[in-house]
Amino acid sequence: MNIQKKEIASEIFTGSMADISFLLIIYFMITSAFSATRGLDFALPEETDTPEIKQEDSIEVHVTPGGAIEVDKKGLPRDGLLPYVLEKLQQNPDKPVILRTDPDATYGDMISVFDLLRRANEEWTDEQGNPLYKDVNGDPLVEIKTISIPTQREIENIWNLLGMG
């Protein structure tokens, strides 16, 4: 007798794959964070290589409550900050800029001035990145080399050292 073999086609059931996939998509969409992943970088000085900065050797930018700025103790509009710093750095390109913020000001006030100072590189170069200005030695001036953000404790320490505390 000829027994015919019944052939059962082997197949993987894929009907529910779309459901599983959509479930996974929804999970990743909900839990995935489109968070801010960019910001201003800021390198803190190591104590060993911190040179002693004399006040007259630096450009002091003071951010007051409300976001107004005083540069070297004189009120200045924000538009005037970079030209002022440029003029000073042309005389001495190593001059550090000290950014001091009033404790009653907000973080946003400080960041906006810090961002403005960091923008010097864009403002002082052309679209190809060529320097637009030169310092007194004839070297290209393309950025502010040192921007220091002293903390209140450091400022008080300096005052104490100077006997002004």
């Binding site: 894929t14 794959m17 779309a18 996939s21 959509f22 996974l24 998509i25 990743f28 969409m29 839990t31 995935s32 964070a33 968070s35 801010a36 992943t37 960019r38 910001g39 201003l40 970088d41 800021f42 390198a43 803190l44 190591e46 104590e47 951010v63 913020t101 009033d102 404790p103 009653d104 000001a105 907000t106 973080y107 946003g108 006030d109 400080m110 960041i111 906006s112 810090f114 961002d115 960091r118 923008r119 864009e122 953000i149 903390t151 209140q152 404790r153 450091e154």
Partner: protein, 147 residues
Amino acid sequence: MDLIRGRDRGTGAQIFTASMADIVFLLIVFFVLTYKVEVDKTQMDLPETWIRKKVPEKAAVISISPPDKGSTIRVSTGEEMALPVSTIEEVITFASTEVAKNPDREFILKADQGAPYARVDEVLDALKQSKVKYIFLLSEQLTADKK
């Protein structure tokens, strides 16, 4: 009767779904690759800056919540959810521990733009005392019209 048979022959409207699986898998791959757990979910208005650099992944995070939420400081190693700290000494301890593990450890400061600077100053001072070398101040993109 012929008319009815003719009606039967009409082609049924269908949506072609064969490529749906491909699209769905493509989306899954995208989400898997871009998936990142936000370690600090505090809602805040970040300050806007023109200069923005990519912050390193897995950097330690210190956040300062908006003033209406108490300007609370939270810390995270970058891999675990951020935990609130009550004193600035705890920030110093946290940062010092991280720096001891890796002297070049990067820190992200995520603070609300309305946070009082005195609070930010405390955190910056704590990081300086802990010998932290690199800080990234998290910000949103400043647009040309606000520049």
